[in-house]
Symmetry: C2
Subunit: 198 residues, 2 copies
Amino acid sequence: MTTISGRVDIGLNAFVVPMAQTIVGSMADGRPNFMAAAWLTRVNSKPPLLGVAISKRHHTHAAITATGQFSVNVPTVEMTAVTDYVGLVSGAWVDKSGLFEVFHGHLDAAPLIRQCPLAIECRVYTAVDLPGDTFFIGEIAGAWCADDCLDADGAPDPRLLRPVLLTMPDNRYWSMGDVVGRAWHDGKALRGGGGEAG
Amino acid sequence: MTTISGRVDIGLNAFVVPMAQTIVGSMADGRPNFMAAAWLTRVNSKPPLLGVAISKRHHTHAAITATGQFSVNVPTVEMTAVTDYVGLVSGAWVDKSGLFEVFHGHLDAAPLIRQCPLAIECRVYTAVDLPGDTFFIGEIAGAWCADDCLDADGAPDPRLLRPVLLTMPDNRYWSMGDVVGRAWHDGKALRGGGGEAG
């Protein structure tokens, strides 16, 4: 065990802690297909781009490649079992189209999940070819939130969305905790002067 | 206000909920520099790749471009103010090198933060040029965890790391909550048969 400066070498397969657990939707063979996905992030503001890493082995990979569209759906903590399930079984073998009630926003190959209080539809902007995964970067074409999960400003309220977090390699799902601060605000007390951002 | 199927159109600037709040380290003008970053994700398993979106306007962007290295540091909930601060002031104007105690693992231009219980050092694998940001995809060269934050398997324990989450556009920091399930496990009860993964 290598230790530097009181820190232990945990190997190269480290993870971001925690990850938002989502369900990626696509149209495969004319049917909605879904898989659990947690390797995703926004990557650009204007235009609004969101990227998700999908293993080339997955049925979803072929579907997104074929249609150029996908959805990102944010399940609630009550949906962990079905969310986990769509990550366990392949759409190549199991028809997952009946698991959720689907609706469509602006795109025809980005099935949105009615049971998820937040659902985002994307059109592929570019696809980054990596050794095992493709990082599909999508331009957000629409975003839909349950009206009872909006805050006073009309934005999704995380307390009401009750999203699921994933940690690896311990492979646990978590709820969100409490508010511990305000972003682009709490650091002002430390600011003696100077310009914006890192 | 457009509504489809009981879902409200919240516009195109939707976010992943929630995001892990990290501090990206780089070497700028020979000094450690730090910025708050929450747009990041693992993107590939083998090799282990981790991507982070950095605005082209940021000092960190020039630093990573120049050195080809960066670090991703995971602060605790006790560190929200300083984490927020490094996102408010630019390294172009303010020397942030003294904010943290720095150590190095395998790389010389990926300063690791001693105060953060988990710190990951990356070598740029490829850089994806986007309109406002560059998505720097780094290969993980080392990952270091405080020994008192490891679980019985020697992996980082999220309960002990106490990471900070960010939500947008409400711009709040959050703690993690409780365990609500087991990944690659809880869905088995729903599995009637079939192959692996979505």
